[in-house]
């Protein structure tokens, strides 16, 4: 049987668990300055599983704190809204889309996605883009891989084997087996989920940003390359993808200047993995 076509993927999107309501709410409220702590905490409390993971993560981040954190609101007050939103998004996505025990290592995918999200947040601070939207776009940038795996696990495992055996990029391996790649699959899923356009563009552009011409797409592309270059996630066959000159120029990035942030990025990544148990 041949792999499903790109136009058939939307049927398979229904097989993926939907984004939890609280995650949808958080993605939409990221740019809403009026969102107050009580409203956000109430939304989080409506999902007991997410509340439990938030408290576990908050207490792990704050292992040096003199008192334990017992409620979502307390976590917000102690650790700050931005940080808690990042932890909730990452924790909810990782647990919702866990393919544990299968040939597709979702844990490694999430370690990589967290690396890209972390680079994106730091680089956003250097380029004037919204750091929280950048973090979310980084977390979701490879979501198309999960959709392709869900649509046809055998073909996707074959794709990963082709990539490993011939040392080609994941995009080339996907094109060879499926006839399309995870940036296209991810875009289709982003449209099904009605994600904000900046996040959809980032998913679509992260391997080849010049054709899309989106600021967030450029940022996630550079973050993807930087995350590989800093070896975040330490994949055994790690290969730094090519880097677009145009994306770097449009963002006004200077690597010699950014070198001063590399150690900070690595320490933050370690702290996030620690908090999320990855």
């Amino acid at each position: 049987m041949s792999p499903p076509g790109l136009d058939e993927l939307s049927f398979h999107a229904e097989a993926l668990p939907s984004l939890p309501e609280v995650v949808n709410y958080l993605i939409r409220s990221l740019k809403d300055d009026g969102a107050d702590v009580d409203t956000i905490a109430n939304h989080i409390n409506s999902d007991p599983a997410i509340t439990a993971r938030l408290l576990a993560a908050a207490n792990s981040v704050g292992s040096g704190l003199s008192s334990r954190i017992h409620s979502a609101k307390q976590a917000f007050i102690v650790l700050g809204v931005d940080r808690i939103v990042s932890i909730i998004l990452a924790s909810a996505l990782i647990h919702r889309f866990d393919t544990g025990g299968s040939a597709f290592d979702a844990r490694m995918l999430w370690r990589h996605s967290l690396g890209v999200a972390n680079c994106a947040r730091v680089l956003a601070g250097q380029t004037g883009l919204d750091p929280d939207v950048a973090f979310t776009a980084g977390l979701l940038h490879d979501i198309g891989q999960l959709l392709m795996y869900t649509a046809s696990p055998i073909d996707y495992v074959q794709t990963l084997e082709l990539r490993r055996d011939t040392d080609i990029s994941i995009v080339s391996a996907e094109q060879a087996i499926f006839g399309y790649d995870h940036t296209q699959a991810g875009r289709a899923l982003a449209q099904t989920w009605k994600l904000p356009i900046a996040i959809e563009e980032a998913i679509c552009a992260h391997h080849d940003p010049d054709d899309v011409g989106s600021e967030m797409g450029n940022l996630i592309h550079v973050s993807e390359v930087l995350s590989h270059a800093l070896d975040l996630g330490e994949q055994p066959n790690n290969l730094v993808p090519d880097l677009s000159e145009l994306a770097c120029a449009n963002l006004g990035l200077s690597w010699p200047k950014l070198t001063g942030h590399f150690a900070e990025i690595e320490a933050r990544y370690d702290g996030l993995c620690l908090a999320l148990g990855l």
Binding site: G62, L65, D82, S244, T259, F262, A263
Partner: protein, 106 residues
């Protein structure tokens, strides 16, 4: 005593370590000066202020041979992950990463 500067998430810091650099919060407000010894109470405050990374001084117990091995392994790993050809921008990043790795191990 030979010391080196390492960056850690606050949850990884052992009380007693000293700051290698001043710490500011995410809005740029100065919180602590370089040289401050970190105790449990200060670490508590840093976490509450959203600080996600600090530079601390750590005693360097490595001998010359260990450092040479670490430098060689780092150089080999950077060469391996940057295998193949790419744009000039990728080559500039390659050079920045290699310098960063070697400098942070010296």
């Amino acid at each position: 005593m030979k010391v080196r500067t390492l960056h850690f998430a606050p949850a990884r810091v052992t009380p007693g370590m000293k700051l290698a650099k001043a710490v500011s919060d995410r809005d740029g407000h100065a919180l602590l000066a370089s040289g401050t010894a970190l105790d449990a109470e200060i670490l508590d405050r840093l976490i509450r202020r959203g600080v996600e990374s600090v530079a601390v001084l750590v005693e360097d117990l490595r001998d010359e041979e260990t450092i040479a091995t670490e430098l060689r392994l780092a150089e080999e790993r950077v060469a391996a992950i940057f295998r193949g050809l790419g744009s000039t921008a990728r080559a500039v990043l390659h050079s920045a990463i290699l310098n960063y790795r070697l400098e942070s191990l010296k």
